[in-house]
Structure formats: C-alpha cells, structure tokens
Amino acid sequence: MSLPAIRIVSATKRYGSVQALAGVDLEVDRGEFFGLLGPNGAGKTTLISALSGLVRADSGTLEVMGHDVVSDYRNARRKLGVVPQELVFDPFFTVRELLRIQSGYFGIRHNDDWIDEILASLDLTAKAGANMRMLSGGMKRRVLVAQALVHRPPVIVLDEPTAGVDVELRQGLWQFIRKLNRDGHTIVLTTHYLEEAEALCGRIAMLKAGRVVALDTTANLLRRFAAHSLRVRLERPEIAGRLGATLAEGGWAEFALDTYDEVEPTLARLREAGGRIVEMQLGEADLERVFVEVMHDA
C-alpha cells in the first residue's frame, strides 16, 4: 500500500498562551481533494505552515509523501506546493522572472516549457513580462498559484485561495484545480466558502481550537448531521416548539429530518396539535449547517 500524501501524528504548536495545535492527527490519501475547515484561529494556517516548514511544530510528526518535514525537509518541500493566504509578491520582478526564480529555488533550470503551460492554463500568458506591481489582485492571486506549481508538486495546499476573488476568476481557478486533481495531484483546501468545500472536497476535516473535531467524507458528514429539514411558518410557532422543532425569527420553525418520508407524519403531528401553516419550505442539508452543528457540539 502506498504511503499517504500527508501524514500528521500528534502535532502540537503553542504561541505563548495560545495552543494553536493541540495534538492533530490526520492522513490525506494520494489523489484526494481534501478540505480543511474551521473558524478563524482554529489552527488551519498553523497546520499548513508546520507542514510546509514555515513554522516548527513543538512535537509530533508531519510527513509529505512519506518524507518527514524536519529530518527530510528537502524531499518533503519538493513534494509540496503551497498557495499562501496573503496576497504577497516581490515587487522587483516580472511574472516570468518570478516563476523562473521559483523554479531555480527548487533546483530546476530550463523550466520555460512548463512555465509557459502554467501561464496559459491560468490565463497569464499576456502578463508574463509585466511587473508584479502592475497586476490586479486577481492576477496576483493567479501568479501565487503558478508559483506553487512550478516544481510540479504532487501535493498542493491552497490556503483560502478565493478570498476576495471575483466569481469569474473563482470559477476559472476551480476548473484548473479540478483538472490538477484529475491529473493525480492531491489537493488540500482551506476555505471559508463552505459551498466550495462541499462541491469540491471528497473528504473534510474540521478543526476547532487546534483539534480535529470532525473527519469524514463530505457525503457522510452531510448525512450524519440532519440530512434534510422542513421549515414551516406558523400562526402560533410555539406549537412547533413543543413538537421538537428549532424556532427561528419571523415565526419560522425547523424540523430536522433524516428522510423525506418523515415529512407527512411531521405535518400530521402539527395538524393534530392545532398548528396552522402559513408558509412551508423543504431544505437539503448543506455543509454550513453541518459546520455550525459541529462547532457548536465540539
């Protein structure tokens, strides 16, 4: 059996009084599209930084494609491409110069064929000779993706790559990342856009206060936490409350259902209790609800 793309065992990291990572255990298989979710300060960026060597974990083991990120850092870093969260760039160079330099850091010379391919894929060919300062925010974001790919890493980590990016660029970017995943690259994504994670990731880990509080396939997570919902607006919402619904603003009440078969009995119970329905909606489970429930329970 091949080694996982990423293996993290009991990783801890403390910054002063803040326990950023409190014993994280995680494995990401080769070829996965994996989501790493959590609220701000959950430890996502610290975990990515520890994996990429930008910070040193206080304890634990972190490996990329079987290479320890400390004792075998050269090989571990060759296997990893990181798209950072911040929109950082070197103002002295053009796009092509930066990509050549980044290739060189990884020991790769004469990489122009691949650089041209990445530039074309990210729609940056026309900007190859432009200085980084002259690019728009979206263009700079694409260059960051290109920089992470110059050494053809099998594992690519994207730390909130679509923060502040317009819809068109976001879609183009996901199309490209999906293609990379289809070509065999392992993708690890952190994002606050949960609908993106739901649509793209096969498996998801949720972090809170430096711990993994949920780890499963996206489908299982959606199934495990309230697969469907029945939302009703009643003249007297307290009746629904007595029947176990969650009350919301505006007279709305929400019943969590495992299957649609439960809709009719629920409506019958409401009728029997004297509830008069003004409006009604059926809802699919989504990752946002799962996320809220996991964070609430953890």
Partner: protein
C-alpha cells in the same frame, strides 16, 4: 526540466544580485556619488594642510577609507534591507518554502551583499582616480580586507534584517551602531592624530582594523600591524558567521 543540487543556492544568489542591480541607481550609483562629495569637500579643505604617515597627501590617505566605508555600509544595507522588506511584505515565504538549507540561505545573502559592497567600493575607487595619484602597494592585503569586511557587514545585515520587526528598528541598528562604528574607525583620520584615550577606545572598534588593514594594502603603512588587523577581522568574521548560522539553523523569527 533539469534538476541540480546547487541550483537553489545559485538562484537565490542571482535573485539577490538582480534585486539590487535593478535599482542600481539607488544601490550603487548614489553611494558612489556620496563618497565623491566627501572626497571633494575634504580634499579641498584639508589637502594642503595635512599629510599622513609622513608624506602621504590627505586626499590619497582619505580614498581607501572612503572606499572601505562605502563598501561596508552597502554590504550591510543590502542584506538587511532585502530581508526586512521580504519579511514585512511577506514574500520571504518564497525563499522559505523551497528546499534551501540555512547554509545556502546564509551564503546567498552574504555573497550578494559582498558583491554590492565590492561594486560600490570599486565605483568609489574609480571616481577617485582624477583627484588623486594612488598606487596599490599590496593588493592582496587590500582584497583580503575588502572581502572579509564586506562579509562581516553582510552577516551583520542578515542578523539585523532577521531581528528587526519594523524599518524603525533597522534604522536604529544602522544609525546607532553601524554608522558611528564606521565613522569613528579612522576613515577620515590616522589613529596617531588622536589623544591616547581615543586611540585606546578605537582599538575596541573592529571597523578600525578593517579600514586600517585595507589602507595597508594601498600604502604599505598602517596605524597597527596588518597581521593584528587580519587576526581581529578574522575572529570577528568567524564569530558573526557562527552567530548568524545559529540564528538561521534555529529558524529565529523566520520559522517561528
């Protein structure tokens, strides 16, 4: 696509050289002009009144000091400014993510800074030619002190660039440590023209030995033995290199 073991180091060195070369007007030409102004003013005021080591004209005495001062200050400025800019703008991660060792990191930043220092020093020497009749008595000594002095200041620049969290702290390092130590190191005067107390104090300034040793390369004469200067400068270089490498190996402020 071809992979090469030393390509990472070579690329970082190339990038650091390209970085200052792209703004050579500011990083090379400006300090040369500054040194030329010093030369014009001091030579005009003092040349007819002062001789050093017996019969050496003041302007001739001044030139090696100015060359070395410019060389040292620019070697420091290069590594320190490059690192703090990269840290503050965040693009330092592009150097930290690749598989570069801390030794390669150190060597690339220091050699690039030495090159800038040497470029500026050579520039100052070049523009001095019309003003002064100068010969180099012992070029090997001059070169040794130029190389070691620039390596010391480049290492100090790496330390300052890593330590400083903001430009203000770096300016403090430069204005309250580097600048006084360079200006009070015998660039503009011979140690023998000072009272005994200040001669003794000057012996605690390693910059004095760098400049005095470098000047020996030009005149075959100096305030102290070039061997003593070589010893002091070599020890300083080894200590600073060891300190810088230890900081980088620990990941101090870079890989927190």
């Amino acid at each position: 696509m071809r992979e090469s073991r030393l390509a990472g180091f070579r690329t970082l060195l190339y990038k650091e050289v390209l970085r200052f070369w792209k703004v050579a007007f500011q990083t090379v030409l400006a300090p040369v002009i500054n040194a030329m102004l010093f030369l014009l003013i001091f030579s005009h005021v003092l040349d007819r009144h002062v001789t050093v080591y017996g019969d050496i004209a003041y302007t001739a005495f001044l030139v090696p000091g100015l060359v070395m001062m410019s060389l040292l200050q620019n070697a420091f400025a290069n590594s320190s400014s490059s690192l703090i800019q990269s840290k503050i703008t965040g693009n330092i991660i592009f150097v930290l993510l690749p598989p570069l060792s801390y030794r390669e990191f150190y060597a690339a930043y220091v050699i690039a800074s030495m090159l800038r220092g040497l470029f500026v020093g050579a520039g100052v020497l070049l523009v001095s030619i019309p003003f002064v009749d100068l010969s180099i008595a012992a070029p090997g000594w001059a070169l040794a002190f130029a190389l070691m002095g620039s390596a010391i200041l480049a290492s100090l620049g790496v330390i300052a660039g890593i330590w400083a969290d903001k430009f203000d702290q770096l300016a403090g390092f430069q204005n309250f440590l580097i600048m006084p130590l360079t200006m009070l190191s015998g660039v503009f005067y011979s140690l023998h023209s000072l009272p005994q107390l200040w001669q003794d104090v000057s012996h605690a300034n390693p910059f004095f030995f760098m400049i005095d040793g470098f000047r020996y390369g030009f005149f075959g004469q100096s305030d102290v033995s070039p061997w003593l200067s070589l010893g002091v400068v070599s020890v300083c270089l080894m200590l600073l290199a060891a300190l810088t490498l230890a900081m980088l190996a620990r990941g101090y402020k870079l890989r927190a």
